[in-house]
Symmetry: C3
Subunit: 266 residues, 3 copies
């Protein structure tokens, strides 16, 4: 078992500043989910300050959900500073596979700086790995190739951790080792924004744990545990969403370990 | 009685992708309300991808709540693709009548492409139809001219469906026929965003029903029914809003027909 | 005791239009909190219409949470119109002290137009007053210099009201007189956006009370009272946030006076 409790305690004690350049749809939830685990969010997308804001932060979350060329320019400025200061960078590849522009810009980021954790749903990750898939807007579609092989290929090529969210989350390190996270509840896919929130949580946990594959597994497991606890209280998406935030806020270190369902990837 | 149940079932079965170029205030609620009825939202406002994202979508919702010239440029690119592929286009004329810029840009869109459903509150629609009214920001003001005559005039001129939201919603086809939707609850006007949500729902229903006047009546009726059911449980706006989303999510096909209050317009 | 009840009644009777140019993180909550006290929000950031929208509004809220140079340009256009028409202007100095860009742009606004109420947390206000502090993103850090002296210095220099939010809110007029507002609950700092909401409320109350120091004290007191009432019902941040909105919506004029904890500043 991974010691999730210690990481959760570390976030709450250190209150790392998690800088985001993200999309306009879920930007509030991205910021707020960060507060729920005890970290502090900041969002500064102007190219005049994105690098300077990164300098006082502990990690960086890039989310291309409503990207523009200008926003990607600011992302790269912040990311270069993050690389320089060894702050972990999370890239949420939202909608890659839906338009040529998204794939091109995601790869431009990954080729311009070192991204530490690439996160996406199945078809987003498959597309980044070179598979010919069509993401339905920002929704995953079935991937015909072997997703695990594609994930390992991408992690190796970019020497990074890759996190694939889904009914079971797959997390793979550059070496091809990793985890399967089986926590979660199907209500997470009944409303907008949970994928983005997951990426923001990756930024929180990576700020306190240098092994980003472990950090990713714990982040997604904690999110999944909170969803399981919330689903015991609420059965409809809007009430469930509110309860999800409160469960994450009050997730005890003990629960984080006891309810954890993380398997070592075979 | 219109068969709302079949349309609701069709959305849930087909899960149409509803592309939005919308405002930054209510963008999350626009996306989330789409999920509540079973469709899938995507928001892609960069001019580099707005047309390509439209190509894989089923309908387009344009909302000028926080418009800029650049955003309108992207809207027109997406809308031309939608016209080409015969995807229905909804235009929510938010704030038309408050500034010259808004009226000019709304009309620029309507003159550049064929909009299938123009939606607004009373003073927004009156202004588009040529009446001299002042919208109070994004809030309707009293219209002294006959609103129904103005609505029919606008629908005829642009050969489209016009939906006027209010205590009773007026929906008129290009031929001057239409419906009055009497579902709804006054709590809908006590918080921000319900007008925008209504436009997003028009985009969902128009994606599965080619008669856009019927689609509009059903969309607004379902939204109104959900509000009536929510108002039985919650009396204050924030709790009511959450309940509204959950009522829409769990709206049964049966309720959609039984509780429907749609009159044929005389 | 200040007569908060009358101001609350005046907002609900006059329904002033409160124009915002604000950030993309909390923009929805800024708009919605305005509705909760009975005013009407509008957000129009395009430079083509920001001044014209101001002309039909009653006050202006500028929030630099996700500023860009273009946004600041629109802010100044709206603000010049507000000055011309004697509409009160609130500036929320979000993140000043975190990057050079934020301090420079906040001061550019304050030097280009007359701001009536400058609002910030302790380190934001200290930075504006010339102190050498580092704001942690948008979170206040400890201020070593005497905060009250800095606040009075800033108020005098810019001939305006300065509102410093914190466990106790400090409000100072240009003359150095003012109030301490002791209403509030610690849950307000457990989720994102309460600082921004407070600034939007300043815009509502300043629209109906020409003494902006009094208006600010009442606004922050009412917000604090609503938080105290909400905390009696909900103990976790997401549920508390919803309850906070509903408590503000249903805040009676009587409660606004009875529960008020405003001290005259010594």
């Amino acid at each position: 078992m991974i010691d999730a409790a210690s990481l959760l305690k570390a976030i709450r004690a250190k209150k790392p500043l998690v800088h985001h350049i993200t999309n306009w749809v879920t930007i509030y939830d991205c910021a707020n989910i960060v507060r729920m685990v005890g970290a502090l969010p900041v969002m500064a997308h102007a190219k005049e300050e994105s690098a300077e804001m990164q300098a006082i932060s502990s990690s960086l979350v890039l989310n291309i959900g409503t990207l523009t060329p200008e926003l990607v320019e600011s992302m790269i400025l912040a990311a270069k500073k993050a690389n320089e200061l060894k702050h972990p960078i999370v890239l949420d590849a939202v909608g890659v596979g839906a338009t040529k522009f998204r794939a091109a810009k995601a790869l431009e980021i990954m080729d311009s700086v070192h991204v530490d954790i690439v996160k996406g749903n199945g078809s987003e990750i498959a597309k980044l790995a070179g598979s010919n898939v069509l993401t339905k807007g920002v929704e995953a579609t079935e991937v015909k190739d072997d997703l695990l092989i594609l994930t390992k290929k991408l992690a190796k090529k970019y020497n990074c951790t890759v996190a694939v969210t889904g009914a079971e989350d797959i997390i793979v390190s550059a070496k091809g080792t990793g985890f399967l996270v089986k926590n979660g509840n199907s209500l997470l896919s009944e409303f907008v924004g949970t994928g983005c929130m997951a990426a923001s949580l990756l930024g929180c946990f990576a700020a306190v744990e240098e092994n980003y594959t472990v950090a990713s597994a714990v982040a997604l497991s904690c999110f999944g545990i909170a969803s399981e606890l919330a689903a015991k209280k609420e059965a409809k998406p809007a009430a469930f969403k509110q309860e999800l935030f409160d469960q994450l806020y009050s997730l005890s270190s003990e629960n984080a370990n006891v309810l954890q369902k993380i398997d070592v990837l075979k």
